[in-house]
């Protein structure tokens, strides 16, 4: 255990000296990471694969990893393409046949080389011949079905603006709460943490009423502004900013920096890891936000992708194939954003540049 932690807690510096030989702790780490891939990423991959399955395939028991579809063949004398089966029992065992039609438990099939001669076999005595097939239509239908670009734009606009406002406003507040001593600080902090305690679900209605009073119903701003007001960011940033040495701020004050300049030239860059985390979270929150936009936005033209995505959920049934395709599509942009922003998480100050 100790060694495992050694491995975990060692820093980049201390790792330097280690030889090229793999220690068992390396095995542990890579084992853990492998497990991580299987457990954390496996389901996501499955999701990706599933988005290429037809609804029927999605319903199949037991589920299969890759999307399959039955092979079809067009034969002379038959107008429609016919599904291909392999016969499993009887004299034709092992032969591939095309099914013309099925009546009850009897299947009427023809051999490929004799498309006119109908043979009757039991339904149980055949197995479909399948091939890998990606149901691209899950995706292409989305674009046909609704104004994907409009939703994309709405989502992007809401996400970007809301995140920017949130980062700005929250980091300013966090700066004040972490680096200034003033009366009322504890009260504000308590208010902010206290608000976190009330579940979002219940405040939706009061919030709706507030937003209505502000005249922001059915407007993107009705999603943007309340989204930017979440208290989590302030709390997160403040705790991080507490770790920035005050002496650097002192130095900046000696350099005649205004407090505002200290905020954006010193505090913000030094909080980069926390800001990156919050940015990732905020982007994800806004992008995936569903409940709140659902209440505020009821007109198609200002729908977000999530709302569009969920319009596949009806009262009785959900069109999983479309929903999954849409999920994957909506996932892509934030995955890219994450890949970009995660670098900043690792740009912490290894040394403070002081003694």
């Amino acid at each position: 255990m100790g060694k495992a932690i050694a491995f975990l807690t060692r820093t980049r510096g201390s790792r330097d000296h280690a030889g090229s030989r793999l220690h068992w702790t390396d095995w542990f780490t890579y084992g853990y990471l492998l497990l991580g891939i299987v457990l954390m990423f496996g389901p996501v991959i499955w999701l990706l694969m599933s988005s290429f399955k037809t609804d029927a395939e999605l319903n199949t028991f037991p589920p299969r990893f890759l999307p399959y579809a039955q092979e079809m063949i067009t034969l002379d004398g038959h107008t429609k393409p016919l599904p291909i089966f392999t016969v499993t029992e009887g004299e034709l065992e092992g032969v591939q046949v095309a099914q013309v039609r099925r009546v009850g438990i009897v299947s009427q099939v023809v051999k490929m080389d004799a498309p006119d001669e109908i043979i009757k076999i039991k339904v149980k005595e055949r197995e479909p011949v399948e091939k890998l097939a990606l149901a691209w239509e899950n995706y292409s239908d989305l674009f046909k079905r609704f104004n994907f670009m409009q939703f994309l734009w709405n989502s992007t606009f809401i996400t970007v603006i809301s995140t920017l406002i949130m980062l700005l406003v929250n980091s300013m507040a966090a700066f004040a709460l972490s680096k200034y001593e003033f009366r009322g600080r504890t009260v504000v902090l308590a208010m902010i943490i206290g608000t976190l305690m009330i579940p979002q679900t219940v405040v939706l209605v009061p919030l709706f009423l507030v937003v209505r009073e502000m005249g922001m119903i059915n407007s993107l701003w009705g999603v943007i502004i309340p989204g930017a007001a979440t208290p989590t960011g302030v709390f997160l940033l403040r705790q991080y900013m507490l770790t920035i040495p005050d002496e650097i701020l002192d130095a900046a004050r000696m350099d005649k920096a205004s407090e505002w300049k200290i905020y954006w030239r010193i505090i913000l860059p030094l909080s980069a890891p926390a800001i990156a985390v919050l940015a990732i979270l905020a982007i994800m929150w806004r992008w995936n936000d569903f409940l709140w936009p659902l209440i505020v936005l009821s007109r198609t033209e200002n729908f977000t992708l999530q709302l569009a995505l969920n319009s596949f959920q009806g009262e009785m049934a959900t069109q999983w194939s479309s929903l999954l395709a849409m999920t994957v599509l909506t996932l892509l942009p934030i995955a890219v954003v994450f890949a970009f922003l995660q670098k900043y998480i690792a740009t912490g100050i290894a040394s403070t540049g002081g003694k």
Binding site: R12, Y32, F175, Y180, G194, P206, Q239, N288, A350
Partner: protein, 322 residues
């Protein structure tokens, strides 16, 4: 972009500088707080206050002015029990089932999640190949919507799902995971840890970055064993971030809803019905909408959270000092 931002900041600097001179530094704090307080006050705090009022009203009307004043009535309904340990003896048995379910859920979920998030953050912070890739591996589940999370795990756990296929392959009997209350509870914890761990891992990763490297170097010169380095250096210096993680995870855990609701629907029976599901079904999904009761329940919940949070803060502060 950077240039644009820069000029924006420069422009803001002008009024800020004026205010700084006018108000002095200690009052300037309020200027920094103001935008947030405005947004926050109006769109986060005010609704909470309204919620307090709702909790004292009855009827299924939505607008506050249409509702009837019942004072403590809703609290009375929630809190009337012959024996608080036996939900069946309570007027609102579902509420109390939810309370007990939530308590045990939170205990397990927060424990496991923070533990694994910390372990993962430490591993991801160490020098491994393809760190960026692995970071996304652990973060990806967070990006999925609750509905999709639930769907994925239902697939895996259904009668003929992957988990049972694996069991069968290994020669065991299959288990009907979500029909057994204990298993269903276990998987609710699991799925919720699965879905949210990445979130806290990320926060912890950022926190680890704030620990100066030279302290680790000093520790290794002091021949500290890794375990001790972790306990005496990493953990205390990570405390500010740890507090965020503990407080947030506690709060979010108590408020767990979406994915478990989509996953088990609170079942079997009410085995995985948690407080927010109760609130949701009482106040929103179910008919009639007992919004007052739901609000009251949410406030009781908040009170408990306040107590737990302060306990946590107190404990961590003591830890940091001791």
């Amino acid at each position: 972009m950077a240039v644009f931002l820069n000029s924006c900041m420069r422009i803001i600097e002008i009024p800020m500088l004026y205010l700084q001179q006018k108000l002095g530094i200690s009052k300037l704090a309020w200027v920094f707080l103001l935008p947030n307080l405005l947004l926050f006050g109006l769109f986060a705090f005010l609704p909470v206050v309204l919620n307090l009022v709702y909790a004292m009203t009855g009827s299924d009307q939505i607008l506050l002015e249409d509702r009837t004043w019942v004072g403590m009535g809703n609290y009375n309904t929630l809190l009337s029990c012959k024996d608080f340990l036996d939900p069946n003896s309570c007027t609102d048995d579902l509420f109390w089932r939810a309370v007990y379910n939530t308590l045990s859920f939170v205990l397990l979920q927060v424990g496991f999640m923070v533990g694994f998030a910390l372990l993962t953050a430490l591993i991801l912070n160490s020098k491994i190949r393809a760190r960026g890739f692995f970071r996304s591996v652990f973060f990806f589940p967070v990006l999925l919507s609750p509905v999709v999370v639930a769907l994925i795990w239902k697939w895996i756990l259904q009668r003929e799902g992957l988990a049972n296929a694996a069991l069968e392959g290994a020669g065991f009997d299959t288990i009907n995971w979500l029909l057994d209350r204990h298993w269903a509870f276990f998987w609710s914890v699991f799925v919720s840890v699965w879905a949210h761990m990445g979130f806290y891992t990320l926060i912890l990763l950022a926190g680890l970055q704030a620990i100066p490297r030279d302290v680790y170097e000093a520790a290794s010169m002091d021949a500290a064993t890794p375990l001790r380095t972790f306990r005496r250096i990493t953990l205390p210096l990570l405390m500010p971030t740890m507090i965020v993680v503990l407080v947030l995870s506690l709060i979010k855990s108590v408020q767990t809803f979406d994915e478990v609701y989509a996953f088990t629907g609170g079942g079997p029976g009410s085995a995985t019905t948690f407080l927010i599901q109760y609130v949701y079904e009482t106040g929103f999904a179910g008919m009639p909408r007992l919004f007052g009761l739901a609000s009251a329940a949410s406030i009781l919940l908040a009170l408990v959270l306040v107590v737990l949070t302060f306990l946590q803060l107190w404990a961590s502060r003591r830890n940091a000092n001791g």
